[in-house]
Symmetry: C2
Subunit: 208 residues, 2 copies
């Protein structure tokens, strides 16, 4: 029987090597040659799967997205009430924050991709799609919360979703650059979620 | 008389060349050689002023900081009331947002520096200092607003400053990646400022 080649597994092996090179040297240190050496395969094999650096970067970005999506799904599966808009929104946002080692590595690489997007249109397009999906999900949760009286009807869901995602991205940057503690960052995120998701009647009672 | 050499002007000439190279190719495209070619000077002259790429990057980061500080000062000079905490805070945050061409270029380079910080400790240290200064300034404004009854006394100024700066950074990212409009971003920022800076008595009247 001819040897079966698991192409997807080989692509992943190469993407994981890219990951390790990028964490040590930044994405600009990622050449097809470096990645081949790190993966312990020939340059020719890497080129067989990825003709250009852009193709390799896009595949690696896709695996990052998959990993984050998988973690969000696992977090959602543990929620006591899987229809709770605040909890669903929080589950997504928590995966954007570098509050442990895995998420820290992912955030470092995520921001490196963001920087690459300034000069690589294919990366910019992929990131834009990913942001649009997140924005749609969070916007839907805010609409749902409004429908069941857990967010003020006067709010614009798209604007509030933009604010929430921006806050999470900015908090992630602060953890990476300013060594802000994960605890501080979670408090700030929860402050914001508390203001957004609370029943209008409860707001009136607290604030009046 | 011997020819006077304006060393500071030469350093700036080189930093501006670095800027143009970085906007076209990203900061990873910035080598001492590329910058020398772009500046129209010899490689030796660049090396005379900057022994390493790190030194050149740090100088360029310093000129970015100076430019932003200068623009903030100009904006503050036009405020009707230069002691108004909300207006002072807004003046600083607006300079972080890529709402016009100059600020767009500065934000692209700013985020590129942020990505470099993951693998270059000297850049990370410089950015951390810059974030700490911003954080202190915004925190002081919030304290001042509390003292004069323009922000709720119950708020933690450091936590609110963290939230504001994170929001501004995240909004800047959204303009760059998701092509979010400057108008949308300004509305989100003003929503947040409105919630933070309003006299407690006014809050009571509006919300009760």
């Amino acid at each position: 029987m001819p040897k079966q080649v698991d192409h997807q597994a080989r692509r992943r092996l190469i993407a994981e090597a890219l990951w390790r090179v990028a964490l040590r040297h930044g994405l600009e240190g990622v050449s097809l040659r470096h990645v081949a050496t790190e993966a312990g395969v020939s340059m020719g094999l890497v080129q067989h799967y990825f003709a250009t650096k852009d193709q390799m970067l896009l595949f690696a970005l896709g695996t990052l997205d998959q990993r984050v999506t998988q973690r969000v799904a696992e977090r959602i599966a543990t929620l006591p009430d899987p229809t709770d808009a605040r909890a669903l929104t929080r589950a997504v946002l928590l995966e954007m924050l570098p509050v442990d080692e895995d998420r820290h590595s992912d955030a470092v690489i995520g921001f490196a991709f963001f920087a690459q997007a300034a000069t690589r249109p294919a990366i910019a397009t992929a990131l834009r799609l990913s942001v649009a999906q997140l924005q749609a999900f969070v916007g839907e949760q805010i609409c749902h919360a409004q429908a069941v009286g857990q967010a003020a009807a006067i709010l614009d869901p798209a604007r509030e979703a933009t604010a929430l995602l921006a806050l999470a991205d900015g908090l992630a940057m602060q953890v990476l650059v300013a060594a802000r503690s994960p605890e501080m960052v979670l408090m700030v995120l929860d402050d914001h979620l508390d203001r957004l998701f609370s029943s209008p009647s409860k707001n009136g009672a607290e604030r009046g």
